[in-house]
């Protein structure tokens, strides 16, 4: 029996360097999370990680502090998401499918809030509509303004794709009216983009601080604003525990939404 000869693969240095960079980047991103976990579960962090022993008391304390604000932030994010659907889907459709004078200008205008700093946007809104702050609708408007460009920006290119237009046209010639085309053909085709946009809106709204800081009132205080208060007033172990609780909300929500859609975010 002849001996199998193995072909020596040439070294791919670029690939190796790329892999190294990927690992370094991932470690740099994950390291703070590990530290947050260590700080929030150490009895006395100043003496070193778990030097005084492992404890969950800060987590319990942190959760007690932020839980009302967490539920408020979730409700706010879902309301903002609903408004994004109501306003963003028709706007994306019009921008993607119709050519009319001023279309390009309108598309550029929808992207303006991305370029405006959150603080400036918050300030502008509170100066323009001071009365709306009291009932919380200004906070909703701020979050909507902040998230809508991302929602439209994620959906419009997909709706503009020839493949989406073709399936819709085929469905039309097969007898499907517009609502049926949306339900049976367009929605399944853009599901991944819609999911990506949904995740983006929910996570952006839940984590938004700059706009919220200007627009909140004591009855309507979002989680990131409460986090800020905790950081500047409390001890570091509690602040870290609150951060961990916050991440426990945001990360599983993103994973769950992604799984529900049966596709990876960004795979549009």
């Amino acid at each position: 029996m002849s001996k199998k000869s193995t072909v020596k693969q040439p070294k791919d240095q670029i690939r190796g360097i790329g892999r190294l960079f990927a690992w370094v980047s991932a470690t740099m991103c994950l390291l703070p999370l590990v530290l947050v976990f260590a700080v929030s579960t150490s009895e006395v962090w100043q003496r070193g990680p778990w030097a005084g022993g492992f404890t969950l008391k800060y987590l319990a304390q942190g959760w007690q502090t932020i839980s009302p604000y967490a539920w408020f932030s979730i409700k706010l994010a879902l309301l903002v998401l609903l408004l994004n659907f109501i306003i963003g889907i028709p706007t994306s459709w019009v921008l993607a499918r119709h050519r009319f004078p001023g279309r390009d200008l309108l598309f550029s205008l929808t992207n303006v809030p991305i370029a405006v700093p959150g603080i400036a946007m918050g300030l502008a809104l509170i100066i323009t509509y001071p009365l709306l702050r009291r009932n919380g609708s200004l906070l909703v408007a701020g979050h909507l303004l902040y998230t809508l460009p991302y929602f439209i920006g994620s959906l419009t290119p997909q709706l503009n794709q020839r493949s989406v237009r073709d399936v819709e046209w085929v469905a039309a010639t097969l007898g499907a009216n517009f609502p049926k085309r949306v339900m049976y053909v367009i929605f399944p085709k853009i599901r991944t983009s819609l999911l990506a946009a949904t995740i983006m809106v929910v996570t952006l709204s839940m984590g938004e601080f700059n706009v919220s800081f200007f627009l909140f009132n004591p009855q309507n205080k979002p989680l990131p604003v409460e986090l800020y208060s905790a950081y500047i007033t409390g001890r570091i172990e509690v602040a870290a525990a609150i951060t961990l609780c916050f991440l426990c909300f945001v990360v599983p929500a993103a994973i769950l939404l992604e799984r529900l859609g049966g596709a990876k975010v960004g795979n549009v």
């Binding site: 399936v167 039309a172 499907a176």
Partner: protein, 349 residues
């Protein structure tokens, strides 16, 4: 010609269309008459308006002027879903979230056909298109040819009055194209449905069509049966596009012959006035390499599966297309004669 009981007539009547972001009209004053059961092929170079015409007929684009009549009915007043037209785009646009049977049955479901009847019609259509064994498969698992069949089955399942195929063979590799073209033609003839077929491939147009419409820059250059267009092209463009002919000027020698470059006497396909200058289309079957004839120099040679396609420039500057079974070097001098059994097409005076 087998005609389906649903097959409809269609008239594009002075249709004009400009895209909203376009400066020039994409379709200019087009008039085309399609008989029930006919296979009409729209052919022309990219951007000539072939696909636009199909989309207008399907109701996906609305023309600014003109009328569209399907079976005597003003079709422009109808939404796409009311026109009963089957449209198969170049991409096939299969519904990837549905399996093959569900794709084929989609139109029937939209038209609220009862489930039992729908299943039977889907089965019949899968059988007609010879894809019944793939019924439950995902469309993602299909080859190009199979995808095309699913798209056609889906369009035919709703008994359309007119079937529209937009470059249905363009996505296939060259070896498959010819085999599937024959299959497709058989399928269309079997269904008997009026068909509009778009292609930019002239051989495909001539092979499949009952009637060919040659388009350029949004207007019709010529409409006719394939053989008529081949033998009597209306102008240089049609001759050059449909048969890769070379067009050149020649002087009429008699009522049925011309002198090419003042030296080679050639038959022509229609009566001309002796002495007048005419434009003729030269095809490779009109000339052959001979022991006598006129001398020329090979300026182009391309191997084309057992035959070399040559272009030979004569002393008078005429370029003649000719075939050779042996390889001849570019620059070589050869003698070329006219094939007296053939005729040059007169394409202009």
């Amino acid at each position: 010609m087998k005609t389906s009981k649903n097959a409809a007539s269609l008239q594009f009547n002075r249709i004009q269309f400009t895209y909203s972001d376009g400066k020039q009209a994409a379709i200019k004053d087009v008039f085309i008459d399609v008989e029930p059961g006919e296979i009409v092929v729209f052919v022309g170079p990219s951007g000539c308006g072939k696909s636009t015409l199909l989309r207008i007929a399907a109701g996906l684009l609305i023309p600014q002027q003109g009328s569209l009549v399907i079976d005597g009915e003003d079709a422009l007043a109808l939404a796409p879903e009311k026109r009963r037209i089957g449209w198969v785009p170049q991409s096939y646009a299969l519904f990837e979230h549905l399996n093959i049977a569900e794709n084929v049955g989609f139109g029937l479901k939209m038209q609220k056909v009862p489930k039992a009847q729908r299943e039977k019609q889907v089965q019949d259509m899968l059988k007609l298109c010879r894809i019944e064994e793939y019924a439950k498969r995902s469309v993602r698992a299909l080859s190009g040819g199979q995808r095309q069949r699913v798209a056609i089955a889906r369009a035919l399942a709703v008994n359309p009055r007119i079937l529209m195929l937009d470059e249905p063979l363009a996505a296939l590799d060259p070896q498959l194209r010819i085999a599937i073209r024959a299959d497709l033609e058989e399928l269309l003839r079997a269904s008997g449905v009026t068909t509009l077929f778009v292609t930019h491939d002239q051989s495909e147009a001539l092979a499949v069509a009952d009637k060919v419409v040659v388009l350029r820059d949004g207007h019709v250059e010529q409409i006719g049966k394939p053989d008529d267009l081949w033998r009597y092209p209306a102008n240089s463009f049609v001759a050059e596009f449909l048969s890769n002919a070379i067009t050149t000027k020649a002087q009429a020698d008699s009522s049925r012959t011309v002198l090419l470059g003042g030296e080679l006497c050639c038959n022509v396909n229609r009566e001309i006035k002796p002495g007048e200058k005419v434009v003729v289309a030269l095809r490779k079957e009109n000339f052959y390499i001979s022991e006598q004839g006129i001398q020329g120099r090979i300026i182009f040679s391309e191997y084309n599966g057992g035959v070399y396609q040559l272009k030979v420039e004569t002393k008078s500057g005429n370029v003649l297309p000719v075939s050779s079974t042996t390889e001849l070097p570019i620059g070589a001098s050869i003698l070329v004669d006219f094939n007296s059994a053939s005729e040059l097409s007169v394409v202009g005076v």
